[in-house]
């Protein structure tokens, strides 16, 4: 169920529209004589998109995420087609849990602005965040990572970032040095920043960690003092530094980076060496990783597709500090500096 375009896109107008939306959903309850709709909200989730994205995929992903993370979803799109500068539309995302009669509904607000209005988006959002709940910014706007972003783009983004308790970006395909420096700057400003490139590594990290869950004495992780990380791109991407940082952080193991031909893009393989054993993880196809060790261990792992939905679903489950990422990131910065 969605509304007509709301203009002017002022917080009071939008909130009034939301009120009407819930009233109309409630009418159904009156007819049926029992509660049929339940409103759910555990956070405000803002997706900031740009002209290329035009909000479509973000809107779709937020709809999918509503089941696990009921939220007030706000999709910010930039488009020349916003006839009146900034305009809004509201809708309810509803689903019926398996075997239940009652629908659970979340609200979604779509705000579209012309590029020249983008710097003024912040004040609208201040009035729209759900009270006392976390505000997560999923930043898909190119201005976030692009050094060539205009001052207007940066100003608009900064206003939105200042509202957020957590910022999620995606450095996939970005230059590692630039991306890590930018994240370091935000972190130094005490912003809680997550990177979906780190989230993508969970499927690598989990099987690697499991090997050291119940190790025999001579194969405990502390014995593996040498790590090699291989990649397929011309230059190592952020995820290569992240995984190296994660593996090296606990005991300061030495790390070597190596460019190879193989499945990619990005991270291709990891070799861990101890005096008595070498363990290799290698991506052998787009959906498979293999483990081989000199002690005869061998296993294949399926890589499930990392869709935006699965990545965001994982990331929204970690709303507070992420100690593993913090440690890996700190070490990744050192590795980038050649330390």
């Amino acid at each position: 169920m969605s509304s007509a375009v709301i203009f002017p896109a002022q917080p009071e107008q939008i909130l009034k529209g939301l009120g009407k939306l819930w009233t109309s959903l409630g009418q159904e309850e009156k007819h049926q004589g029992r509660p049929t709709v339940l409103r759910a909200c555990a956070m405000t989730l803002i997706a900031a998109t740009d002209e290329e994205d035009s909000g479509f995929s973000a809107s779709q992903t937020i709809s999918e995420l509503m089941r696990e993370h009921p939220s007030r979803g706000i999709v910010l799109a930039v488009s020349q087609q916003a006839e009146r500068g900034v305009e809004a539309r509201i809708l309810a995302q509803c689903w019926k849990p398996f075997g239940k009669a009652q629908q659970i509904c979340c609200e979604q607000i779509e705000i579209t602005s012309r590029p020249e209005n983008w710097p003024n988006i912040g004040p609208i959002l201040i009035g729209l965040t759900a009270a006392d709940l976390p505000v997560v910014l999923w930043c898909r706007h190119k201005a976030a990572l692009s050094p060539s972003a205009t001052a207007d783009q940066k100003a608009g983004l900064l206003a939105v970032m200042n509202l957020a308790t957590k910022i999620i970006i995606d450095t996939k395909g970005e230059d590692a040095t630039q991306a890590i420096e930018l994240l370091a700057k935000w972190r130094a400003e005490r912003r809680l920043v997550a990177d979906l490139e780190w989230t993508r590594l969970t499927r690598w990290r989990q099987p690697i960690a499991q090997i050291f869950d119940n190790p025999s004495t001579d194969s405990s992780f502390s014995k593996f003092g040498s790590i090699e990380v291989s990649y397929t791109d011309e230059k190592p991407c952020p995820s290569v530094f992240y995984i190296a940082g994660w593996l090296s952080a606990p005991y300061g193991a030495k790390v070597a980076f190596k460019k190879v031909e193989g499945y990619g893009p990005g991270l291709h393989g990891i070799t861990l060496r101890s005096p008595s054993e070498t363990i290799e993880f290698e991506r052998t196809s787009c959906d498979c990783m293999s483990l081989r060790s000199t002690k005869g261990r061998e296993r294949k792992y399926n890589f499930n597709d990392s869709t935006l939905y699965t990545l965001m679903n994982e990331e929204l489950s970690v709303l507070g500090p992420d100690p593993a990422f913090n440690a890996a990131f700190a070490r990744a910065e050192e590795l980038l500096d050649g330390r």
Partner: protein, 517 residues
């Protein structure tokens, strides 16, 4: 002389508890009583669901065992029907089932027959090779309780309690039928298994909302300061069922409501509500606190039982145009049965936090609806400022109730007074609600899923320990003694009501009334 110091095992520095799925090691699960109701309704659907969600290791197998002769294939077919029928809040997936079924095996045999254990031994050796289960075995005794001691003894005699990996045993309640038999059973089990290998299951503790009591109390800063005799007037724990004994008349006649619910489930729930905060959230500390609380419950003297405990039994009634049988008319039930199908008890906890605060627990069959909840009744405000101005003209004496709903709609609500719109200071109770289903869209695991995962992972936090069982028997034993020698004038409540009048009188003596859940 100095003892050799063993180095502590390294804690995996790569573990990421925020993001990684909980890891359950490879293992085989042997279910005794595999063709029984519990296996069909709960155990196999839970294991299937865990498999579906990839929460259990791929190196996993189930060996079902019971007297009914069946092949592996027949067992798989039978379990498929059950899983499809009893899977809760989730669809059945044919492809996933095919994959899951490859890990199901069956060994026909009698618990009294030693040869059956040899067959299981052999099957486990095969499975250890074919499924690479690393020699880890979890035994699940889903049999008649009278067979527990014998089955465990046979497991020991057939060397099934040792192998290449760990061995654990899950035992279903009841753990004994009174204090003496519970202690005897524990002795028998300990001859074969160490306490750390014994998992006494109380499925109430596996329910999300019961676990949430700990999160609610100890994860928030605002409730715990109020959680004591100074602010809480009394606590009511209700576990009501709308159904009768449903074909279990024979069993229930021997058990009764006090044994079936209060000795185990509800006393554990009470312990969770009233226990002190553990210093660390781990199995040993949480269970220490639960046990400590149960030991602090005042044990009644025999002559106090009539004042603090009420037994009831449902009689016939016509409800919603349907004729309902009384307990004594149910199949397999003695027409003169003295069984309690309803029990209400007032407990007092003799510690600094709870001294003189009554904890009322009631449970019964054939009540008006199925509901389990815990109501924390807070005390009255010191001054009744608005007593003349309420709509009814009566002052709401104790307006604040915190209700922790366990089933059917899990959640938490807090009732407080609010001014009604309009002129004048008219107050009306309103409710602030948290509903599990809407706040967390994802499906909650069932209690058996949680508890099976925990046992496979070696986490005993939600399982009951010997001293907890002992303490909970101690507090109900005087009631059992007195009721056992009393001839009740049953039935004393019609089906479809909230229990006998004596139960209301028990609360009235303390100046309280049962709430209507």
């Amino acid at each position: 002389m100095s003892a050799a110091v063993q180095p502590l095992p390294e804690i995996n520095p790569l573990q990421d508890y925020l993001r990684f799925d909980r890891h359950v090691p490879p293992c085989a699960v042997v279910i005794f009583g595999a063709s029984g109701d519990l296996s069909k309704r709960k155990l196999l659907p839970s294991l299937y669901r865990l498999f579906y969600e990839r929460r259990i290791s791929p190196n996993f197998a189930v060996v079902g065992s019971s007297r009914t002769p069946m092949s592996d294939e027949q067992f798989r077919e039978k379990m498929k029907e059950s899983v499809a029928k009893f899977l809760e809040d989730a669809p059945f997936d044919e492809d996933v089932w095919r994959s899951f079924a490859q890990s199901l095996y069956y060994v026909a045999g009698d618990l009294n027959n030693p040869a059956s254990y040899d067959d299981i031994h052999q099957k486990l050796e095969e499975i250890e090779k074919t499924h690479e289960t690393a020699g880890n075995v979890l035994f699940y005794l889903s049999t008649q309780p009278s067979h527990y001691a014998e089955a465990i003894q046979e497991l020991g005699e057939h060397d099934l309690t040792h192998g290449n990996g760990w061995r654990r045993v899950i035992i279903e309640k009841p753990f004994g039928h009174d204090l003496a038999s519970a202690r005897k059973l524990n002795e028998e089990i300990h001859k074969v298994f160490d306490e750390s290998e014994i998992y006494r299951i109380d499925h109430y503790l596996g329910k999300e909302t019961v676990q949430n009591i700990l999160a609610f109390r100890f994860g928030n800063g605002i409730f715990e300061p109020l959680w004591n005799r100074r602010y809480i007037d009394h606590v009511q724990i209700t576990a009501a069922e709308s159904i009768g004994v449903e074909g279990r008349g024979g069993y229930y006649q021997e058990a009764g409501a006090l044994r079936d619910m209060i000795q185990n489930h509800l006393s554990q729930v009470m312990a969770t509500v009233a226990m002190e905060p553990p210093t660390v959230f781990d199995a040993a500390n949480v269970r220490d606190e639960r046990a400590k609380l149960l030991r602090a419950v005042r044990v009644m003297k025999h002559d106090e039982v009539p004042e603090y405990a009420v037994a009831g039994q449902y009689g016939p009634a016509k409800v919603g145009g349907q004729d309902l049988l009384g307990f004594r008319q149910e199949p397999s039930v003695d027409p003169e049965a003295q069984t309690d199908t309803y029990a209400a008890v007032t407990f007092f906890i003799d510690n600094w936090r709870w001294a003189d605060i009554p904890f009322y627990i009631r449970t019964g069959k054939r009540m008006p609806k199925r509901v389990t909840d815990i109501a924390i009744q807070f005390g009255a405000p010191p001054l009744g400022l608005f007593k003349q101005e309420t709509k009814t003209g009566l002052r709401e004496a104790r307006p604040n109730v915190l209700v922790l709903r366990i089933q059917p709609e899990e959640g938490i609500s807090l009732r407080f007074l609010s001014k009604s719109p309009g002129s004048g200071m008219r107050l009306r109770p309103v409710s602030m609600d948290f509903n599990y289903g809407s706040s967390f869209g994802e499906r909650s695991p069932t209690a058996y899923e949680t508890l099976l995962m925990d046992a496979m992972a070696g986490d005993a936090t939600l399982y009951t320990r010997q001293d907890m069982v002992d303490a909970s028997w101690q507090i109900v034993q005087p009631i059992l003694d007195v009721w056992g020698s009393t001839k009740f004038d049953f039935p004393n409540y019609p089906s479809g009501t909230w229990g006998p009048k004596a139960s209301d009188e028990m609360l009235a003596r303390q100046g309280h009334v049962w709430r209507v859940p």
